[in-house]
Symmetry: C2
Subunit: 153 residues, 2 copies
Amino acid sequence: MKLSVRGEYALRALLVLGLHFGGEVVPIQMISEEQNIPKRFLEQILNDLKVTGAVESKRGIAGGYRLARAPQEISLASIIRHVEGALAPISCVSERFYEKCSCPDEARCAIRNVMKDVRSKILEVMGTITVADLCARAQKLAEEPATALDYVI
Amino acid sequence: MKLSVRGEYALRALLVLGLHFGGEVVPIQMISEEQNIPKRFLEQILNDLKVTGAVESKRGIAGGYRLARAPQEISLASIIRHVEGALAPISCVSERFYEKCSCPDEARCAIRNVMKDVRSKILEVMGTITVADLCARAQKLAEEPATALDYVI
DNA sequence: TTTATACTCTACCATGTCAATAGAGTTTAT
DNA sequence: ATAAACTCTATTGACATGGTAGAGTATAAA
């Protein structure tokens, strides 16, 4: 049930770009340092995001990346789908990456039935939350006192 | 965001065992044929499930597997965790498989914050639904007329 | 117009996981 | 005894993942 590192990096990069939205273009270098992401790898991911239209780039000495659309128009679901494929836990319940599974009768498959529920729950979150929301959460978290933060053990 | 085939097979096998609960032990062969699962692979998966205590086996000529506990006491979440690890989309929000991620400040990470929501949504479904529910769904689906079934395109 | 900075594109590689197969047991009802 | 069925450990091939490398191209600034 994992998200790949690739997807995680994409979201982290987008968060940075979201926080700089409206301002100057942000160089890969800066994102890479700020977020601890291997620069060369991030390069590829941002390029993917460019191809899919989430970000745009400016080349040359003062170059870098910026969001191609308003932060509130970029859902996390759309990003994940672009950089790593299906959001659904199994592909027989995926809308855009549907694939038949090996079960005897897909239409009457109880597992599939449950996974459809899981899928819609995931989508409920990932489809609703946008880069703008991500930024808002980041700002809120930054303001909170350290004592209010939870520690997972 | 995928579940592995291993996890899917485990659930499918458990469904079969759930439907036979109370009766005789079910041989791997039968589950394998009924569910289109490679027998040798299923062998390993059922063995895992035995080690974790979800099923028990009987050896010898009339051998096979049965659930080790009542169907309503086996949640899908517990099974997935046993055969493939974390349910959480990223390990920094996993309760039992926690691992630090590479982000600069985990406690104030907005991505993590969102993923916690996703994780709890997934758990809301997978943690609640048991093998018994799975069986109930299977029976209900079997009764439904074909026209009521949905087709994903 | 040179130069340094930053993006672009294609290729490559090392590792690991996944799904599956294989073989040599052990157990047990008949 | 024997055949059906589980048990255990290895191994394999394919593929994805995470990351590196190098040779470009564009552009702002000096």
